[in-house]
Subunit: 401 residues, 2 copies
Amino acid sequence: MDMHTLTRELQLSNASKIVMLVADGLGGLPRTPGGKTELETAKTPNLSALAQMGVQGASIPVKPGIAPGSGPGHLGLFGYNPLQYKIGRGALEATGIGFELKDGDVAIRCNFCTIDKNGNISDRRAGRISSAESAPLAISLRQVKIPGIEIFVEPVKEHRFVVVFRGEGLGGNVADTDPQITGVPPLDPRANDKDSHRTAQVATEFLAQAKKILASHPKANFHTMRGFANKPTLPSYKEVYGLKAAAIAVYPMYKGLARLVGMDIVGSAQTLAEQMDTLELAWAKYDFFFIHFKYTDSTGEDGNFSEKVKRIEELDTIIPRITKLNPTVTIVTGDHSTPSYLKGHSWHPVPTLLVSDCCRPDPHTTFNETTCITGGLGHFEAQYLMTLAMANAGRLGKFGA
Amino acid sequence: MDMHTLTRELQLSNASKIVMLVADGLGGLPRTPGGKTELETAKTPNLSALAQMGVQGASIPVKPGIAPGSGPGHLGLFGYNPLQYKIGRGALEATGIGFELKDGDVAIRCNFCTIDKNGNISDRRAGRISSAESAPLAISLRQVKIPGIEIFVEPVKEHRFVVVFRGEGLGGNVADTDPQITGVPPLDPRANDKDSHRTAQVATEFLAQAKKILASHPKANFHTMRGFANKPTLPSYKEVYGLKAAAIAVYPMYKGLARLVGMDIVGSAQTLAEQMDTLELAWAKYDFFFIHFKYTDSTGEDGNFSEKVKRIEELDTIIPRITKLNPTVTIVTGDHSTPSYLKGHSWHPVPTLLVSDCCRPDPHTTFNETTCITGGLGHFEAQYLMTLAMANAGRLGKFGA
């Protein structure tokens, strides 16, 4: 049974406030056996203070051994089973650049490519064309006109851009046109179901016009289309939890993910301090606050252990600004681990800390990868964090009599 | 996969005895951060002795964050997935007063109400009429006669009573007649599926006759019907585990829940000491003993920390009478937590202890909320406790070759 079936039925309304502070990629690894992780190395007096009042555990983002991307990682934290709810590649790419998809939109990841005089692909990424060169080229594709369809073209980076079709009857189930090899022509857009025929037609027309517009470019004289996807249908926070939720994030991807579950994007903070300003300003207006901190992930991705340590210490310094607001429930977690040792997302459980008046504190006085495995929350799938948050906020009634 | 699919296939027969001692609402919370819970405060030398021989863990009644009522709480302990098997409100109310439902019965929770001269409800609870006044009134409704239907009317408390219809073709899916507001007439019973048309007809006839019987009462001149429910269909302990099971409980609700899974209700004990007498007398005749102790829950519900401590100590004193019988498997657990701090059922995992010759003891020498989180059983959903019990009793064969 979907946990939302329970939360829809059991949700209660009260004046409680829940703060979920997500340090992206929080979990790490020691550099050598017996060594300390980034979080264990960092000086985190404020997290330790929270640990003394709270209960901690090891959050499994999806299932043991599964390293998630940002999409499933956050869906899990938001309480959406990441194996049940999927965000198509095109929709995630559009979300990641801050494009606000509407119901029925089809989003497509596009790659500039080079085709030879016979129409065969000679380079699938147009010689990894620079962003400076590719952005105006993507924008030039906004000239494409198709009756009845609103078209958006947005540059992403290097050879990548996004196309969104908006109109009636556009299914998202169309096969990629990228043949994955060179020396052959791109494939024609082909619908994989009845509802997507119109989308395939529109894509075919788009490609025909794009070919003319791009024809004279020496490298990027055509493009492929991949990851066709409708805007995913996710029930909203308001519906499944009865929560008025605010997202305080710096990067478009996380704002987009929050928007997909119906959170309001609040403020325009560019730093952690500004995020705290926004939190204070929005405090009275919302029940739930998702605060996203990117740099624990990006430093991990860079393989920069000491920089990740510093970013964790930076995060620690702002904790008092949260506790001063006296939230009913405070959660510190991550959407996955990003050990600098691995330079990428990993499957390792994420240290997760929850503080409330009725959280049943465990004996731990610090918060890290070692303490969390023997914490009072045990090892649990991230998708259950929201029911724990709701329960600790007094927002869930009793199940059954 | 339902665990019963496995236990049906793998169950073995032997002479083992399993005792499951359920301290209702066992888990608690400290009154202040860093303080002790009720179980941690209580002097429990006998539970500590069991802990030294046994293995403990944190039992999650349903799912993280979900606080169960007695029904789903016990279904979990009995090994029935509480999200799969549900006991309708009417059936639970009948069970709670000790009414023995039969297959096909429809049980209905009824509220006396007051209707004005226009037939509109002016008080949905008949001025919270006293039990002394309402009980004879409920009994007067036994005059209602409907051909082909056996009717039972049982007083509950204050404005509440139970009606049970017994007969052919009575589905349980009928909408409540309580409109939930005053100033409007009660709703007519309406079937929500084909199988329940006859039930709606019977209920309509019952209400017509009841209206005449109650007409002259100044407050309780009518009644509503809610929570229509058939007796739930639960496979029996005998079938799913091959166990001949006895329930030794004081309160009707728990006898009723045990009866629903096919346990025999043994003895008529009113005290814990009498429950132990019953256990000794029934020892030779059963494989499995469910012993229910209510007062750890009721003292928690009352918010009486010190009284809950005393009740835990009372429970501790009878442990030697159980161990003296030398059960193959002894389990001490609760159906949920009832922290006196919260004055109600909660979601917190329940300390659970299992002792057997082959239980793989963990290092703990005491048994409480803090030790259980690092116990050998880990954090597990209550629905898996019965397979652990069966395994420790040597009653489960190998799965697969």
